[in-house]
Assembly symmetry: C2
Homo-oligomer: 500 residues x 2
C-alpha cells in the first residue's frame, strides 16, 4: 500500500516506522513485525510500531535515518508491504535451541546487527542465547572474522605486529603504557588500541588521555606504529569491529558478556590491526571475570587454539588479581603511578613486576632472550621513558609531561583503621564502586589510593586508604559508602575463637 511520509522526532536514531492500527490490519502486520518501505532512492525492511493517534491512517511516521536510507522526504509517497523476518532471526532461534550455526548464519547475524536490520528485541535474544548456549571454537573463529569484516583494517608496512591485551577486571591495572614503551624501545612494533571503562572505574584510555590525545585515525595509527614502533590509542575512535560497540549497549544493562562474544571481539580487534604475535593477560582471582586458575587455563587453551585457527601466535599470562595492581585507582592517580614507574621509581613493586614480566614475554616472542631481565633493564636505564615520550609526542602530547603534573583530586579524606591486625582481604568490586561514587572515570581527579594491602600489619588509627575527589559532595557520599563497605578487611591472627 502507498503511505505518505511524516518524519519522527529526531530522538529516534534507529530505523523505525510507525503506522496506524487500521493500516496495520490491511497490511496484515502486528507490532514488531517487519514492513518493507520502498522510497525513491532505496528500500529497507524495518520493525514496525503500531500506534493509535501517533499517526493518521494513510501516513507512515518514519525515523530520520530511515527517511535518508530510502531517500524519502516529508510528504513523499512510499510503498509499504509486509516483509518476512531476515534469516538471522531463524538462526537466533537455532542458537536458542542449542544448535551449532554455520558460517553463513554467523556472518548474516553480524551483518544484520551492523546494518540495523535486527531489532533490540532480537539482538537481546541473540546475546542471551549466546550467553546460555555458547559457541564452539569453529563458530568463534568465524564470528571473529565476521566482526572484523564489518569494520576497517590497517596494514602496517612493517612486520611482525605485536599486540597485548588484558582481559581486565582488576582495578589499578595501569601497565599498558609501560609494556608498550618497553617493547617498542627494544625494537618491536606494538600499535596498541585500548578501551575505556565499561563497568570499571578506569579503562586504559581513561588515564592515558591525561598523557596525550588518544583519538587518532587508523592511518595515523599506522604511521605512528611504523615510525615510533608503539602507540596507546583509544580503539573506540576507529571503525574497528564496530558491531562489538553496538552490542555492548545491550550487554551492559543485562550485566552479561557472553564468552563467545568476548573471545571473538578480542581476537577480531587483533585481526583488524594484523597482529602476528599476541600476549593476553588473564587477571585471575575473586571478583574478576576469571575466578580460578582452572578457569584461566581454560581461557588460555581456547585463546591459543583460536589463535591457530586465525593465524595469530598467542601466549597467555595468568596474573594475580585478588587485589588491585599497585596502589592507585582512578584516572589521574593511575596516570601518576604509571609515570612514576617510567620515571624510575622502584615502587609499587606489583606494577613493575607485572609490566616487566608481560613485556618480557612479548620480547621473547620477538626473539629477544631473557625477556623479563631485559625489560627491567630497559625500564631502569630510562629507555622505556624515552620511548614513552616519543609515543606521547606522536599522538599529539607534550614531551615535558611529568608525574607531578597529574591532576589528582584536591578534595581528599583518609579512611582510618578502627582495629589492629593484618589486612586479610581487599575487595576489588567494593573499591571500584567507591571509586565510581567519587566520580571516576569521568572526574579525572577522582579515585582511591590503597595504602594498606594484603598481609600488611595495621594498627588502630593507621590510614587504610585515601579517597580523592574533584568535589566535596561526591567525597562525602563516597566516604559513607567506603565506611559501610570497608573494602580493606582487617583480621587478627586468630580469625575466630572456639571455646566450647
Amino acid at each position: 500500500m502507498k503511505l505518505i511520509v511524516k518524519p519522527m522526532d529526531h530522538l529516534i536514531t534507529g530505523y523505525v516506522a510507525c503506522i496506524d492500527p487500521a493500516d496495520a490490519l490491511v497490511l496484515g502486520v502486528k507490532e514488531n513485525d517487519r514492513i518493507r518501505v520502498t522510497g525513491p532512492k532505496g528500500e529497507m525492511a524495518v520493525v514496525v510500531v503500531v500506534a493509535d493517534r501517533a499517526v493518521n491512517p494513510g501516513e507512515l511516521l518514519v525515523s530520520i535515518p530511515l527517511m535518508k536510507r530510502v531517500g524519502a522526504s516529508e510528504g513523499c509517497e512510499v510503498c509499504v508491504a509486509y516483509s518476512p523476518n531476515p534469516d538471522s532471526v531463524r538462526s537466533i532461534r537455532r542458537k536458542m535451541d542449542g544448535q551449532k550455526l554455520d558460517s553463513i548464519e554467523i556472518v548474516n547475524i553480524v551483518n544484520d546487527i551492523y546494518q540495523g536490520n535486527l531489532s533490540t528485541i532480537e539482538t537481546s535474544a541473540w546475546l542471551t542465547a549466546l550467553y546460555i548456549n555458547g559457541m564452539d571454537l569453529d563458530e568463534i573463529a568465524v564470528f571473529a572474522n565476521a566482526l572484523v569484516d564489518t569494520g576497517d583494517r590497517v596494514e602496517f608496512g612493517r612486520s611482525p605486529v605485536f599486540d597485548f591485551h588484558s582481559m581486565g577486571g582488576v582495578p589499578g591495572n595501569k601497565i599498558t603504557p609501560i609494556v608498550v614503551s618497553i617493547c617498542a624501545a627494544a625494537g618491536l612494533m606494538v600499535p596498541k588500541t585500548s578501551s575505556r571503562a565499561i563497568s570499571s572505574a578506569c579503562g586504559t584510555s581513561d588515564f592515558v588521555e591525561l598523557f596525550c590525545p588518544v583519538e587518532v585515525t587508523l592511518d595515523r595509527l599506522r604511521e605512528i606504529g611504523e615510525t615510533v614502533g608503539g602507540a596507546f590509542v583509544w580503539g573506540g575512535s576507529m571503525n574497528i569491529a564496530p558491531v562489538d560497540d553496538m552490542v555492548i549497549k545491550i550487554e551492559h544493562p543485562l550485566g552479561i558478556n557472553p564468552r563467545a562474544q568476548m573471545l571473538a571481539s578480542i581476537l577480531g580487534k587483533k585481526l583488524a590491526i594484523g597482529a602476528d604475535f599476541l600476549l593476553i593477560d588473564i587477571p585471575t582471582g575473586g571478583g574478576t571475570k576469571v575466578p580460578t586458575i582452572e578457569a584461566a587455563k581454560e581461557y588460555s587453551r581456547d585463546f591459543m587454539a583460536l589463535g591457530e585457527k586465525l593465524g595469530i601466535h598467542i601466549e597467555c599470562a595468568i596474573t594475580y588479581a585478588d587485589q588491585p595492581v599497585g596502589h592507585a585507582i582512578g584516572p589521574a592517580l593511575e596516570a601518576r603511578e604509571c609515570l612514576r614507574v617510567l620515571e624510575g621509581d622502584d615502587h609499587p613493586a606489583s606494577v613493575i613486576e607485572k609490566a616487566c614480566e608481560c613485556a618480557g614475554m612479548l620480547l621473547e616472542m620477538g626473539g629477544i632472550p631473557d625477556g623479563a631481565r631485559r625489560a627491567r633493564e630497559i625500564l631502569r636505564t630510562g629507555e622505556a621513558r624515552k620511548k614513552f615520550l616519543e609515543i606521547v609526542v606522536a599522538q599529539g602530547g607534550s614531551a615535558d609531561i611529568k608525574s607531578s603534573d597529574m591532576p589528582v583530586g584536591k578534595h581528599t579524606v583518609d579512611i582510618i583503621s578502627k582495629r589492629s591486625g593484618y589486612v586479610n582481604r581487599v575487595v576489588n568490586s567494593d573499591l571500584v564502586a567507591v571509586a565510581k561514587a567519587l566520580g571516576a572515570p569521568s572526574d579525572k581527579g577522582a579515585g582511591i589510593e590503597v595504602i594498606k594491602k594484603r598481609g600488611h600489619r595495621v594498627e588502630v588509627g593507621d590510614v587504610l586508604f585515601r579517597l580523592y575527589a574533584d568535589n566535596d559532595a561526591k567525597l562525602a557520599r563516597a566516604k559513607d559508602m567506603a565506611e559501610k563497605l570497608m573494602p580493606v578487611v582487617i583480621e587478627g591472627m586468630i580469625l575466630s575463637r572456639v571455646t566450647e
Copy 2:
C-alpha cells in the same frame, strides 16, 4: 542533579527519559542504565537514552506517560539520579544461569513487566532465558498465580465453574461455541474467554464476532455466566492476566512461546475466572505446537500436576491435528460451518465428533454420565442451538442469526488437481499461510474451503480447495502462493518405483 522537563513526541508510549551526554557523564550513567526521576507527584526509575542534539544539557526529555507518573509538566524542574537496576534483572540473570527462581523473584519479574519497570532488552532476555532454561512445576504454579494477581478476577455466584481451552495450532478448529452451547444446555456454567489469532489465520474470537459482540466487561461476563450458563467472549477485552498480552509483543517477533510462559498463562487465565473443572484440548500432529503423542502426554501430565497445585481439576483431550478440523479456514467460513453444525447439518463429521467428544468429557466432569452420547443428543435435538442463540443475544447479538448470513468472500477461485491419486498429506502451515495471504483474519470473508482431505480419491480436474477473498488483488496473490506451495498433496498408491 536538577534538570528541566521537556516532553517527548507522544509516539513514545513507554516510560523513557533522554539526557545529553554531558549530563550522563556527570550522573555516571550510560545508555540503557537507569535513572531515578523525582517530580512533584512521584518518582520512577527508568531506562535512560543518551542522545546528542536531541536534548540540551540541563534538560530531560521525558515521555508523556513518565511525565504523568511523576507529575511533572513542561518546564518543571525534576531531580535526577543514578538508580541501580531492579532486583528482577539479577533474577533474569539467575534464570540465564539455569537457576530455579523463588516465589519472590517470580512475582517481582511479573510485577516489573506489568509496571513497565523492565526494558525491552530485559524482557527479551527474560523470555529467551525462559525458553531455553524453562521452569519446574513449582515455579510455573507461582508464575500462574503472579500473572493472575496483576489483573482482575471474577467471582461467580454459581459454582462449579467449568472451562475449556484448546492449545491451538490446528486450522479450522471452530468447536468452541458448540462445546460451550452443549454444556450450558446441559446445565453446566461455561463462561469461556477466547483469544484472537496471533500467528494463525483465525482465532475463536475472530469468527465468533460475526455472531455477536465479543467485547464485554468482567461484570457482564459474570451476569451472562450466572443467568445463561455460557459465554464465548474475547479475553483481550478484559484485564485478565494483562502481562501475558504484554509479553506476546516480544515473543511474536522472536517466534518463541516458552513452555513455562504458555502453561502459566493458560492456567492463570483460568484461575482468574475461578475455574473448578477444566478440559484442555491438545491438538497433536505435524506442524502444531505438539508434534507427537508422547509430547502430548507430557503436556497432559504437566497440566494435571499443575491443576493439583492450583486447585483446578484438569483433564486433557489429545486430539487429531494432522489436517484441518472440518473444511473451513477463515472467519466467515468457520462461522458458517460452526452454525451449520448447530443448525443440525450432519457434516463435517470431524467438527461434530471433536465438539461432542470434548463436550462429553466436560459433561462427565460435571457428573453427567455417558457424556459424548448426551452431547450428540443435545446437538441433535436443537437444545444446543437454542442455548447458542441465548448466549448470542446475551452478548448483544441477534436471535435471527443463520449460517446463510455469514459474509464469505465474494471473490473465489478453485485450485484444481493436475493428477489423480489419493490425498496423502494436507500441510496445515501452508494452508494457514495462504489463508493469511487471502486477508484472514482481518478480512472477514477471506479463507479456504478444503474440499479434498486425507485419504480422499482425486481425479485430474477435481477441485482440491477453494480460495475466498474480499478483493481480487489478494485472491490473485494467494492463488500463486497456493499453486506454488500446493498444501494438499496427491500421491498414487505407488509412492515410488524401485526398478534397479
